[in-house]
């Protein structure tokens, strides 16, 4: 249904180009949307936010004003989808989660990423749309994740593209290939914990579930992924990353593919062998075991 990619580089490099290259080779797996999350460490906090109407920009500025100072604002016009804005903010670390929750609570606004070490770029349609609309600058970092989407049970709108983030743990982003069969139950549970859902995409539930687990287990991605493996039902491969960790979980039935390849310079994860040739020539990737969870520290 979708294609996913993850990459860890021993040295900081332009991860986004690599990810886009990898995704380009699996575009056929998902024509509906694409997206990447990268983790360059910055001085300032970057907020990437979508809004259902351009007029809401004033409201957004006011909202942000309660938590920090806007240093720069860049509007990204709607084009075929909805308007977005990218902000550089000066704010305290402990205000990140409250700001994320505040925006999450507002109808029609959605955080794509918020933090000083995380940036998510996502857009509908083919990868060209992503590249053209978002002007992804070259930023050096050591890891990132990416996704191309074939919509299954929800509509194709930009907020429904992956990677997803969650106010429970703002620095987490994840991508997912598969379909959960207990999404509605999970959503009811997570909504009761205070988060608002922005889409009907089941993958959004996974981001809140894993982020929630991390918020109560002290930021342990591996334990959170193990929890997810137990609680999520259906078929899935998930790659999740924070500023300092990246890992995956594969469902117990082992139906959706997840390949791993390690070379001297890179560790790469993906849905198909072909992805890896964007970065390195002819490496054999191993299929991960059903039910497997693995996490790397960056």
């Amino acid at each position: 249904m979708c294609g996913i990619a993850g990459i860890i580089s021993k040295q900081p490099i332009d991860i986004s180009s690599n990810l886009l290259g990898m995704l380009g080779l699996i575009q056929h797996r998902g024509p509906d949307a694409s997206g990447i999350a990268i983790f360059p460490k910055d001085e300032q906090v970057t907020l990437r936010i979508s809004m259902n109407k351009e007029e809401r920009i004033g409201e957004i500025r006011d909202l942000i004003g309660n938590y920090g100072k806007i240093k720069n604002e860049r509007l990204i016009s709607a084009g075929e989808s909805i308007p977005m804005a990218e902000y550089l903010l000066e704010m305290d670390d402990d205000k990140l989660k409250p700001l994320h929750f505040a925006i999450n609570g507002v109808e029609g606004l959605a955080v794509h990423s918020l933090g000083d070490g995380i940036k998510v770029y996502k857009e509908g349609g083919h990868l060209e749309n992503l590249r053209d609309k978002h002007q992804i600058e070259m930023q050096n970092c050591r890891h990132g994740i990416g996704h191309v989407r074939m919509a299954t049970e929800s509509v194709e709108d930009i907020n429904a593209a992956h990677p997803f983030v969650s106010p429970f743990y703002p620095e987490l982003a994840l991508v997912h290939n598969g379909q959960f069969t207990n999404y509605f139950k999970m959503r009811r549970f997570l909504e009761s914990k205070g988060v608002k859902f922005k889409t009907m995409n089941d993958s959004e539930a996974a981001s809140h579930l894993i982020a929630y687990a991390m918020s109560i287990n002290g930021g342990n991605l591996e334990a959170a992924l193990n929890d997810a493996a137990d609680q999520l039902d259906g078929i899935y491969c998930i790659i999740a990353a924070t500023e300092s960790q990246i890992g995956f979980v594969k469902d117990k039935l082992g139906i959706k593919p997840l390949l791993l390849v390690e070379s001297d310079d890179y560790i790469m994860l993906g849905s198909e062998q072909i992805e890896f040739s964007a970065v390195s020539e002819d490496l054999f990737a191993e299929e991960m075991e059903p039910g497997e969870v693995r996490v790397w520290n960056i």
Partner: protein, 434 residues
């Protein structure tokens, strides 16, 4: 002029003055009292049959019916109890008293629980020692009559049920005919032989919820906070009753629909009191969610559960388990002749007559009940796997659609095909036209 042929006239079947109505009137005219009957109401009621389960096809994958597992283990009462009840299938044996049932029937039911790993409720009137000895897990009821109940019962209970009413005859005082009170029954219940028993309708140690809050604290202390304490109610004012049950601090609710059975009840009560299991269950789930306790409170439903489809749909709507009464008796041989109140059950199930009791072979009956529970659990697994689940508890209301307008309106589940929702939708498929 030709002879006029005799024409036989056939009237349309009498809707009002049919033979059932005529016989009821004859009974009342002869005896000057209302009729008492065994089993649940024979009236047609809206049932789980009016719902369908959506299978996995392209968007989601089915689970291999044979080779991949689906977890059936069920945990009940984890809200406050330190030792929640863990059973291997979400099917338990409902409370049916030793008195209404023969000793052989009770022992057979208890033995069946050991074969499948579930819990049996003692029913009214104390615990038959042989039932306790043979059961896998034992639930003990605390009723208004309190016959045969002592502190010792609380000590051996894996689960407690505080009874407010049963679906068949809610709000009535209990009734056991003198003919059914044998020496043994009298011994277990600690009452005299041969007198008709009319039990209390209201518990004498807690008149009202305000007192019950305090009583509940006491029950917790008596059980060291270990034992799950459930509240058993007949489905009536579901929302209001459940709100109080939540505030009283129960670990869970057993909700008995109006088509549930009993050993003996006035016909008017079984036929006209209460609401059916399926809509009651939806109301209960909505209430638990409204109060924010759906994840903590356990919900068990009973009343007319017959097969794995009923179980799967009940779980999907939001029940954690079901209790079977009549179905278990039928597995043992009962044919639902509805004459339990005579005490002359030919199958040795609903009788105390020593000769008739010989007709029930305990071990065979136990095996039959266990077989039945295994079979319906497997049926539920089959359906859940088709819907893509590897755990029964992952069935959700969005897996269901309503076949009739009534079921659609009663539950808020979208109508098949059009996805029409009448009134307040139940679940995301209702809100989003999925």
């Amino acid at each position: 002029m030709a002879d006029k042929k005799q024409v036989t006239i056939h009237n349309a079947p009498k809707a009002t003055w049919n033979k059932e109505i005529l016989s009821e009137i004859d009974y009342k005219a002869t005896n000057g009292k209302y009729r008492i009957r065994g089993c649940g109401s024979p009236r047609p009621m809206p049932k789980f049959d009016d719902l369908m389960i959506l299978p996995s096809q392209l968007t989601r994958m089915p689970i291999d019916t044979y080779r991949e597992d689906c977890e059936t283990r069920t945990v009940l009462g984890a809200r406050f109890a330190k030792k929640p009840l863990i059973i291997e299938t979400p099917v338990m044996i409902a409370g049916m008293s030793y008195g209404a049932l023969s000793k052989e029937a009770k022992i057979a039911l208890a033995k069946a629980t050991k074969l499948v790993g579930t819990v049996i409720s003692n029913g009214e009137g104390g615990i038959l020692p042989e039932e306790l000895e043979n059961s896998y897990r034992q639930s003990v009821q605390i009723l208004a009559s309190r016959m045969g109940f002592t502190r010792r019962n609380m000590e051996v209970a894996d689960m407690l049920e505080v009874l407010y009413g049963i679906g068949a005859k809610p709000g009535l005082s209990g009734h056991l005919m003198g003919e059914k009170i044998s020496e043994e029954i009298a011994e277990v219940r600690k009452i005299p032989i041969g007198i008709d028993l009319h039990s209390h309708p209201r518990a004498g140690d807690a008149f009202g919820a305000d007192d019950m809050v305090v009583k509940m604290q006491q029950l917790r202390e008596m059980t060291d906070w270990e034992t799950p304490i459930f509240c058993k109610i007949a489905a009536g004012r579901v929302r209001d009753d459940i709100k109080i049950a939540i505030k009283l601090g129960f670990d869970g609710i057993i909700l008995d629909g109006c088509s549930a059975g009993t050993g003996a009840a006035p016909v008017m009560a079984t036929d006209h009191l209460g609401i059916p299991t399926m809509p009651a269950l939806v109301a209960a789930v909505r209430t638990l969610e409204e109060m924010g306790v759906k994840e903590e409170m356990s919900l068990i439903v009973s009343g007319g559960i017959t097969n794995g489809a009923d179980l799967a749909k009940a779980l999907a709507i939001g029940a954690d388990a079901v209790a079977i009464g009549t179905a278990a008796m039928v597995a043992m041989g009962c044919r639902v002749c509805m004459n339990c109140q005579t005490g002359k059950c030919a199958f040795g199930i609903g009788t105390q007559d020593p000769e008739l009791r010989q007709n029930l072979d305990v071990d065979e009956a136990a095996e039959r009940v266990a077989n039945y529970i295994k079979a319906i659990t497997a049926e539920t697994v089959l359906l859940a796997k088709s819907a893509g689940k590897t755990k029964l508890k992952n069935l959700e209301r969005e897996d269901l659609r309503a076949l009739t307008l009534e079921a659609c309106a009663m539950t808020g589940i979208p109508l098949v095909g059009s996805d029409l929702v009448i009134g307040k939708g139940f679940g995301f498929s209702a809100d989003n036209g999925l």
